[in-house]
């Protein structure tokens, strides 16, 4: 089972976005953002709630029309009217938008039909996707009776049914408990590796972006404020942090390496903690606020 045939395209960037903007009334939701996503990348769009992540994903998938800017898939300009480009995309929305009365298999069946799949090929894909999502035993269970984690997996299996090359996931683990969240990360890695799908996910969970992503783009108040691999982003701030516990606040100082942090520590006579930098620190440094309040 594969998402994409590697021979079908030559351009290095699977997704290229230029000057994308969208406002709702006087509120600017996304403001002239540019970025590229390479083929097969697991790409995270990180930012606090309300930063513009969902609006971006909705424009990338044709659910919202941009006010300005361009989206290209494999060098071809995306227009929701171009049905062949829509075929390349699989979407996992933030909410589990399943038909609760329909069984797991029926939910997949309708999706397949919407994407022009039919007959034995469709049945085979349904079996295969249910198996991949460990939901074969729930095939005839109404979607409304599945657990939260299973519903999420079913929504992802549904998005994979038509073998998209790019999978968009909007906050894929929101609402899941920590155990289910970790299982979901393993599942997403499996999709990225086994099905060779490019994955574009939005998240406001720092750990999720750090653990999963090859590259991270940080968005705040509709603008992109930083981008790179998690390591590059942390290096740009300093790999080590010294948390200095003052009387009424914690002050953080950043250092390129542990030795420099230790030297500074020796100069201090208050409570301190040395730790490795996280993307939360990067965000804090860039914006003066935390991602997850």
């Amino acid at each position: 089972m594969s998402c994409a045939d590697p021979k079908t395209f030559n351009t290095p960037d699977e997704i290229e976005v230029r000057g994308l903007s969208r406002s709702f009334g006087k509120t600017v939701a996304v403001d002239r953002i540019d970025f590229q996503v390479g083929r097969g990348e697991l790409f995270a769009f990180l930012g606090p709630n309300g930063a513009g992540k969902t609006t971006t994903i909705n424009m990338l998938t044709g659910l919202l029309k941009p006010d300005a800017g361009e989206i290209h898939y494999h060098g071809q300009r995306f227009d929701p009217q171009r049905l062949t480009l829509k075929q390349l995309i699989g979407v996992v929305p933030q909410h589990n938008n399943l038909d609760r009365e329909l069984t797991a298999a029926e939910n997949l069946l309708i999706h397949g039909r919407l994407f022009g799949m039919w007959g034995a090929e469709l049945q085979q894909r349904i079996d295969s996707c249910l198996k991949f999502a460990d939901l074969t035993s729930k095939r005839d269970t109404p979607a409304g009776q599945l657990s939260g984690g299973m519903k999420r997996k079913l929504v992802i299996a549904r998005a994979l049914l038509h073998e998209p090359e790019i999978l968009f996931l909007d906050e894929p683990t929101v609402g899941l408990d920590p155990h289910s969240r970790r299982k979901m990360w393993a599942f997403l890695r499996r999709i990225n590796q086994q099905q060779r799908c490019t994955i574009f996910l939005t998240t406001h969970y720092i750990e999720e972006a750090e653990t999963l992503a090859d590259r991270v783009l940080i968005i705040d108040q509709a603008r992109i404020i930083a981008g790179g691999t998690p390591e590059q982003l942390k290096q740009s701030t300093g790999n080590f942090v010294l948390d200095i516990y003052r009387a009424d606040e914690i002050e953080s100082e950043f250092f390129a390496d542990r030795r420099a942090a230790m030297q500074r520590l020796e100069q201090l006579d208050t409570s301190v903690r040395i730790r490795e930098t996280t993307l939360e620190d990067v965000f804090l440094q860039l914006t003066g606020k935390r991602i997850a309040p």
Binding site: L63, N97, D99, I110, H111, R113, L114, G116, W118
Partner: protein, 247 residues
């Protein structure tokens, strides 16, 4: 595959309808039965309207009214799937021309509208009223159901919430039910009411369906033309709206 999107949407709606068929049947049976008892056997017992027994006049009216309610009722379902369950997003994301969504939902509205038709045909048998269920009736019924399914679709696309939907029902559907010749001839009403009735599509479909069902009545082919024109206009409007719709 031709019309794969429309067929997928129709299949989805039918799978859901299958699961709530008993509820839909009961809901479609109760209200016309009550109207039939109250108006047919209560108020209108023994009365003659336009030269026919009142029951012969009333049953086609009940049929158009009840089937309109069911066809138009897709508005509430689309509304829920759009704003609450967000399943409508699946249709917007799929590689299909958006007019196929209109076709799929309209076909579903037509199917739903057939349920009260069967029930009222059964009531007419019980009441011993002979109606003419011929090909002209079927054609008129198809136009009528498609018009109200399209109206339901348009309503679901233009509202911004569930409460907007209730407002449309209160200001459009309920007046249409009572002023379009379901229970009494429009010609008997005062001029202002007749003027209002003339803008309701139900007035024309009731008139046409009643003529096709009533033995000996003359069927106006102009009304077929009027209904076809309304249908084409509504499809055009629906197409314009759905092309612009965002989540």
């Amino acid at each position: 595959m031709i019309l794969h999107g429309a067929r997928a949407i129709y299949l989805r709606e039918m799978l859901i309808l299958r699961r709530k068929l008993i509820k839909t049947l009961l809901a479609s049976a109760v209200s016309p039965a009550l109207f039939l008892l109250a108006f047919g056997y209560g108020v209108g017992r023994g009365a003659q309207v336009g030269g026919v027994d009142y029951l012969v006049f009333l049953l086609p009216g009940l049929l158009t009214m009840s089937s309109m309610n069911q066809s138009y009722g897709i508005a509430t379902e689309i509304n829920i799937s759009r704003f609450y369950f967000k399943i409508f997003e699946e249709f917007l994301l799929a590689p299909l021309q958006r007019w196929q969504i209109i076709v799929g939902e309209t076909c579903y509205g037509i199917t739903r509208g057939l349920i009260p038709v069967l029930i009222i045909a059964f009531y007419s048998l019980l009441a011993g009223v002979s109606l003419r269920f011929g090909p002209l009736f079927l054609l008129a019924l198809l136009l009528h159901l498609a018009i109200f399914a399209l109206l339901g679709f348009i309503a679901a696309m233009i509202v911004k919430s569930h409460s907007d939907q209730a407002t449309i029902n209160a200001f459009l559907i309920t007046p249409m039910m009572f002023l379009s010749g379901t229970f009494f001839p429009v010609e008997q009403m005062p001029l202002p009411i007749r003027a209002v009735a003339s803008i309701f599509p139900l007035t024309y479909s009731t008139q046409l369906i009643r003529a096709t069902l009533t033995p000996g009545a003359e069927v106006s082919f102009t009304l077929f033309g009027v209904l076809t024109l309304i249908l084409a206009t509504l499809f055009f409007i629906a197409r314009q709206i759905v092309a612009r719709v965002e989540i």
